[in-house]
C-alpha cells in the first residue's frame, strides 16, 4: 500500500511541477502571508489584546495557529472530493478503479499531495513565526499537539469523504463542506477569540469541531497544556471523529455501489 500511495504522491507532484508558473505562484503564495503577518505583528506590538491572555497574549502567535489549523482542515475537507472530481474530469477514475489498488488506497492517495502542500505551508508559517514574529514553541506539549492534530484531520477528512460521496452521486462539488468551512472561518476563532462573539453565536461555534480543534491546538502549542489539561477538547474531537469516520466510509461505499449500479462512474 505504501508504494502505491507514494506513486500517487509522485504522480501529483510531477503533474503540479509540469505547470511551472502555477507551481511558482503557489510557492510564492505560501510566503506572502508570513510577510503580511510581520506587518500585523508591528501593529499589535506591545498591545494588550483582550481575551488573548488564555493563549499567552501574543496576537501573531494566536492567529498563526488559527491559520495553520484552518489550512489543514480545509485541505482535509476538500482533498478527497477535488481528487475524485479531477479523476472524473480527466477520465482516469475508471482506469484507477480497474487497477489492483484498493478503494481506500486510491482515496487516501488523492489527498497526499494537498496534505504535503499544507504541511510545507505550515512549516513555512512556523519557521517564519519563530524567526521573525517571536513565536515561542518552547512550551509546546508534543503528545497533546499530535492528538489534537490527528483528531482534527480525522474529522475533516471524514467530512471530505462525505463531500466526495456527494460528488460521486451528484457530479458537482458539494455545497455543505463549503458552508461548514465558511462558518468555521467566521465562528471558530481563527482570527479572534470566540469569546468576542455574541452569546448566541458562541453557542453555534461550540457545535463546530474546528472551534475545539483550534482551541486545543493553541493551548497545547502556545501554553504547553498536557493531554489531561485539554481532555475536554480531546473528548469532543474524539466523539466527532468516532461518529464521522465510519459514517463517511459507509456513505462513500454506498455512493460507489450506486455509481456502479447506474453506470455513472465516469460521468461528470
Amino acid at each position: 500500500m505504501t508504494s502505491k500511495l507514494l506513486a500517487m504522491l509522485k504522480k501529483d507532484w510531477d503533474e503540479a511541477l509540469s505547470y511551472r508558473l502555477a507551481f511558482l505562484m503557489q510557492a510564492g503564495g505560501v510566503v506572502a502571508p508570513v510577510v503580511a503577518m510581520y506587518f500585523l505583528a508591528r501593529v499589535f506590538d506591545g498591545v494588550d489584546v483582550a481575551g488573548l491572555a488564555r493563549y499567552g497574549g501574543n496576537y501573531v502567535s494566536f492567529i498563526l495557529i488559527g491559520i495553520i489549523v484552518t489550512s489543514y482542515s480545509g485541505t482535509a475537507a476538500q482533498a478527497f472530493s477535488s481528487g475524485l472530481r479531477r479523476a472524473q474530469l480527466a477520465g482516469t477514475l475508471e482506469v484507477l478503479l480497474l487497477t489492483r489498488a484498493s478503494l481506500p488506497t486510491i482515496v487516501v492517495g488523492w489527498s497526499l499531495y494537498p496534505f504535503l502542500r499544507s504541511t510545507v505551508m505550515a512549516l513555512v508559517y512556523l519557521a517564519g513565526g519563530f524567526a521573525i514574529l517571536g513565536l515561542a514553541l518552547t512550551n509546546m506539549d508534543l503528545p497533546a499537539t499530535f492528538l489534537v492534530f490527528a483528531l482534527t484531520v480525522a474529522i475533516m477528512a471524514s467530512l471530505g469523504i462525505l463531500a466526495a460521496s456527494f460528488t460521486l452521486v451528484f457530479k458537482q462539488g458539494d455545497p455543505f463542506t463549503m458552508v461548514l468551512l465558511m462558518a468555521s472561518g467566521l465562528l471558530s476563532g481563527v482570527a479572534y477569540p470566540v469569546s468576542v462573539l455574541p452569546e448566541w453565536l458562541q453557542a453555534v461555534a461550540q457545535v463546530l469541531p474546528q472551534t475545539h480543534a483550534i482551541e486545543g491546538m493553541r493551548l497545547a502549542v502556545l501554553q504547553g497544556y498536557s493531554v489531561q489539561e485539554i481532555a475536554p477538547q480531546l473528548a469532543l474531537l474524539g466523539i466527532y471523529a468516532g461518529m464521522l469516520l465510519p459514517l463517511s466510509w459507509w456513505v462513500f461505499s454506498c455512493a460507489i455501489h450506486r455509481a456502479r449500479a447506474d453506470g455513472s462512474l465516469a460521468h461528470y
Binding site: E15, A90, H257
Partner: protein
C-alpha cells in the same frame, strides 16, 4: 470441449430514464431503458471477437459489465473461470479494459511516467517494473517517444499507450472499446494489424472489440456478436451473419446493347421487390440491381422476360450481403 475465455449468462442491465429534475424527484414512477437484455455469449480463448452494433446498442455497457465497472441487474460473467461479481480482485487480474475516450491517461506526464505509475498500482514487483515498462513500450512501438509528454502524442499514439498500460500485468483478455474511432485510415489500419497480428496471433490474447465499423469487424474478428437494443441478434462469423440477416437476395444483372426500357416493366413482375439502375459496366452496358423474394423462382423468370423482350443478358450474379446490410435490416425491422 471449447475453452472459453469469457462466459456471459443471461445478463441484463437497465438504466433509469431521467431527463430532468422532475424525473429525479418522481423516482417511484421512474421508467427504465434496457441497455442489455438477457445477453448470453461464450467467447473462446485466443483471437479477436467483435461486438458490433449502432450507437446506443449496449456495446460499452457490455464491456463495462465484463470489466466490473457496472453492476448487472441480473445474470453473471465468468472470466477464465473466475466470477466477476464473486471475485472482483481475481477477475481484475485477468482482463484489461481500454475505454474509447483517449482522456484516460495523464497528459501532463510522459508515456513512461504514465506506465510506471500504473505498474506500481498493478503490483508489478519493483525489480521487474522498469523492464516490463520497456517491453510494453517496445510492443506498441512507442520506445522512441516514451519520454515525451502524452499531450504531444497523436490520437493513435495515445490509443497505443492505453493498450500498453493494459498489457503491463499481462492479462489474458483485452476489452477494446472502439479503438479506431478517432483515428485516420492509415493509423486505424496500423492499429488493426497490431491487434490481429501481435495481440491475438503472436501473444495469444483474447481481444474483445466493440465497434460500429462493419469493415473492421469483418476483417478483424473471428466471430461477431450483433448487439441491437440490448439483445444479441447474432453470434457467428461475419459472413454467415450477413447471409442470414442481410435481407432479401440481391442480384446484379448486366445487359448489353440498346435496351428497350425494361427496367420499369421488371418492377411490375411478381417476386421482384425492387429494380434499379446502378453505375458500372461499359458504355454500351446497362447494369441493374434486383432484389427478389425467391431467387430460385424469380431469377429464371427475370431472364426469360428480358430475352423475350429482345434484351441481351450478359451476366447475372448474386450481390454478397454485408454486415452493413444486416445492421440496416435490423434497424428497418425495429422501426
Amino acid at each position: 470441449m471449447v475453452d472459453y475465455a469469457i462466459q456471459v449468462e443471461h445478463l441484463s442491465k437497465a438504466f433509469p430514464r431521467t431527463s430532468g429534475y422532475r424525473d429525479m424527484l418522481t423516482f417511484w414512477r421512474r421508467q427504465y431503458r434496457h441497455a442489455l437484455d438477457d445477453v448470453t455469449l461464450n467467447i473462446p480463448r485466443g483471437g479477436v471477437f467483435g461486438i458490433l452494433g449502432p450507437n446506443g446498442a449496449g456495446k460499452t455497457t457490455l464491456l463495462k459489465v465484463l470489466a466490473g465497472l457496472i453492476t448487472p441487474d441480473a445474470g453473471g460473467v465468468t472470466l477464465e473461470g473466475v466470477d466477476v461479481t464473486g471475485d472482483p480482485v481475481g477477475s481484475k487480474a485477468r482482463l484489461t479494459y481500454v475505454p474509447a475516450d483517449e482522456r484516460t491517461l495523464y497528459w501532463r506526464l510522459t508515456g513512461r511516467q504514465n506506465l510506471q505509475f500504473f505498474a506500481v498500482l498493478n503490483e508489478i514487483p519493483a525489480r521487474e517494473r522498469k523492464r516490463r515498462v520497456a517491453e510494453v513500450l517496445d510492443l506498441v512501438g512507442l520506445t522512441d517517444r516514451a519520454d515525451e509528454r502524452v499531450i504531444k502524442y497523436s490520437t493513435g499514439m495515445k490509443q497505443r499507450l492505453a493498450i500498453a498500460r493494459g498489457l503491463l500485468d499481462n492479462p489474458g483478455i483485452l476489452l477494446l472499446d472502439e479503438p479506431t474511432r478517432s483515428l485516420d485510415p492509415a493509423a486505424a489500419r496500423q492499429l488493426q494489424r497490431f491487434i490481429k497480428d501481435d495481440l491475438a496471433a503472436r501473444l495469444g490474447k483474447t481481444v474483445v472489440l466493440a465497434t460500429h465499423n462493419m469493415e473492421e469487424a469483418t476483417n478483424l474478428c473471428e466471430l461477431v456478436a450483433i448487439l441491437h437494443q440490448g439483445h444479441v441478434r447474432a453470434w457467428d462469423r461475419a459472413t454467415a451473419i450477413a447471409e442470414r440477416l442481410g435481407g432479401p437476395a440481391r442480384f446484379a444483372v448486366t445487359l448489353t446493347g440498346p435496351t428497350n426500357g425494361v427496367v420499369h416493366q421488371l418492377q411490375a413482375l411478381p417476386g421482384i421487390l425492387s429494380a434499379s439502375r446502378t453505375a458500372g459496366g461499359g458504355a454500351e452496358d446497362l447494369s441493374l440491381e434486383l432484389t427478389v423474394a425467391d431467387p430460385e423462382r424469380d431469377i429464371p423468370a427475370v431472364v426469360e422476360f428480358l430475352v423475350q423482350h429482345g434484351e441481351r443478358v450478359m451476366r447475372v450474379s448474386q450481390v454478397k450481403a454485408s454486415l452493413s446490410d444486416a445492421i440496416a435490416g435490423m434497424a428497418e425491422e425495429a422501426a
